[in-house]
Amino acid sequence: MTLLAIDNLHVTVQGKPILKGLDLTIETGEVHAIMGPNGSGKSTLANVLAGRPGYDITEGSVVFRDAPLSELEAAERAHRGLFLAFQYPVEIPGVSNMEFLKAANDSLCAARNEEPAAAVAFMKRVRAIASELDLDPEFLKRGVNEGFSGGEKKRNEILQLLLLQPTLAVLDETDSGLDIDALQTVSEGVNRFRGAHNAILLITHYQRLLDHIVPDHVHVLSDGRIARSGDRHLAEKLEAEGYAWLAQG
């Protein structure tokens, strides 16, 4: 089943064209990796999918689970099963991580007409996921991402992924900032999440991540478009040769 269908997507940010005719289709059960030079528009794609204000679709369309994405508010996209692990997760001092997770979980349950988990059971579940990710339970009491190191922030994103169980997870450079052990732990988490009923869009600069989370498809984003698509071997070629050879076609 097609989860996400992006057709000829053009996006401007503050009047500046960033995405210039991007096509991408993701089926359930698939893992897609997007690589590409700095500034090529990878995070822009992630943000426009998540519904960040200020990203204007000027042409083309995005359909997510049969609904035109542009008609959905950011929260509704999440209700429908979209999740973005941010490249730079924001710090929210004063809102405890646990309180935040509960609010997010309750919102998703409400949208699905499910009964939200009771507080004690919920906290137990969150702690279990935190321990799988080697995240000290103390982090749950702190403000959301407040004073977290780069790697801790990324692990906190994956904690949310595992807790909220979206249908499409967009992971924007979740591997950057992780040490070698953390990369292993986080990848194991993502692989546990991976399944026949969901899909993952991995944005990364490094082949290393793709050794852990093996993608079905690899795309190269360059100057706002998919310049090349292939299987995992494309990533290996990029790792060895960089992006320059793409320009020669």
Partner: protein, 374 residues
């Protein structure tokens, strides 16, 4: 003019334990002075004085105290004790900075003297629901008191709360103001002796005209104060908070953090003045005031002031006025939390952040209840 009307009422109502002679004239002169005009730039002093002068005569404060603490009406005090009270009240009134003190003193009728012996732990609950009142709280050396003060004025009211902390004494003062008065004024005046600690945890909702003057004198070596205040000021509501922290002795320390959240056309004024006297070597003071305006049309006046007569000190102060963080909102939305709840979470965080260290649930809950209501 408001001043003239005040004069006649004061002479009429003077209670015997206040040194009333000349007080009315003094008050009128103060109300009219330039200094007052400056200190009351954003709150109407004529309106406040007229409202307080029109409150009914008679003490309006109720006290419930634990056994270790003696609570005595001024009228029941011995001659000597009464003389002491008189001088204590006079000291408060003498401060030209607080022109409303005399009106409140004269309107209060009877007052309360609360005293602890040395070395005890105690607690006391003060409720101020109407009119004018005076409370003197004396905490003896090494004693520790937990004070909960609730202000629920429905009509104009004022209060003098005069606190003296002995050596190494400790006061934890939770102040919850949630009235809806045409005018609410209070002076909390604290004197802290050597190594005494004063901890204020305040929450306020503002009123038609609400003014809180808090004056802390760190009057002994090593005395310290930690003041935190969270306020939620709603549409058409006003709150004016004026703090003075005087470091008069060596190694005195103060930390002040006030956060104010404004909704609709709220008006908030904050003035935090840290005064480091020449003898206060090694003093440390920090003061932060943050304001968060949710809607257009709110008015914030904030002014942290430092007056330092000493090189050997550590001081920092800062004030900000801002709106909700769009990045944070988007993060919450992206997790499925709706706009309204996202804003609410950030507002709660803003208010509880400043009460966090003091850990007062009472102060916090009073604000959260109102925040969640709307």
């Amino acid at each position: 003019m408001a001043g003239a009307r005040v004069t006649t009422e004061l002479e009429h109502d003077a209670p015997d334990w206040v040194d009333a002679q000349g007080l009315a004239e003094l008050t009128s002169a103060r109300l009219a002075s330039h200094r007052s005009a400056e200190l009351w730039k954003y709150s109407s002093l004529p309106r406040a004085s007229a409202a307080l002068a029109a409150t009914p005569y008679g003490d309006a404060i109720s006290i419930s105290a634990a056994d270790e603490l003696t609570a005595t009406r001024f009228s029941q005090l011995t001659h000597n004790a009464r003389a002491q009270v008189r001088s204590c009240v006079r000291d408060a009134i003498d401060q030209a900075r607080y022109p409303l003190s005399a009106i409140v003193a004269l309107k209060a009728g009877d007052g309360w003297l609360l005293e602890t012996p040395r070395d005890v732990n105690s607690r006391v609950h003060i409720e101020h629901s109407k009119g004018a009142g005076i409370v003197i709280l004396r905490i003896a050396d090494n004693a520790s008191v937990n004070l909960l003060e609730e202000i629920t004025l429905g009509d104009a009211g004022g209060c003098l709360l005069l606190i003296a902390l002995g050596r190494n004494a400790h006061l934890r003062h939770t102040r919850v103001s949630r009235g809806a008065a045409p005018c609410a004024w209070q002076l909390t005046h604290v004197t802290a002796a050597d190594s005494a600690t004063y901890e204020l945890c305040a929450s306020s909702l503002g009123s038609t005209l609400e003014r809180f003057d808090c004056h802390v004198q760190l009057a002994g070596a090593g005395a310290s104060a930690r003041l935190s205040g969270a306020a939620l000021v709603d549409d058409k509501t006003h709150l004016d908070q004026q703090l003075v922290i005087e470091h008069a002795h060596p190694h005195t320390e103060s930390t002040t953090r006030f956060h104010t959240l404004l909704r609709g056309k709220a008006r908030s004024t904050f003035n935090g003045r840290i005064h480091i006297h020449p003898g206060a070597h090694g003093a440390a003071a920090s003061l932060t005031n943050r304001n968060l305006a949710l809607d257009e049309g709110a008015e914030v006046n904030t002014k942290p002031e430092l007056e330092i007569y000493n090189d050997d000190v550590r001081c920092s102060h800062g004030a900000t006025v801002g709106s909700l963080d769009d990045e944070a909102i988007f993060y919450l939305l992206s997790r499925g939390i709706d706009q309204e709840r996202a804003r609410q979470l950030l507002c709660e965080a803003f208010l509880s952040e400043c009460l966090e260290e003091s850990g007062s649930d009472t102060a916090r809950d009073s604000l959260m209840e109102v925040l969640r209501r709307a």
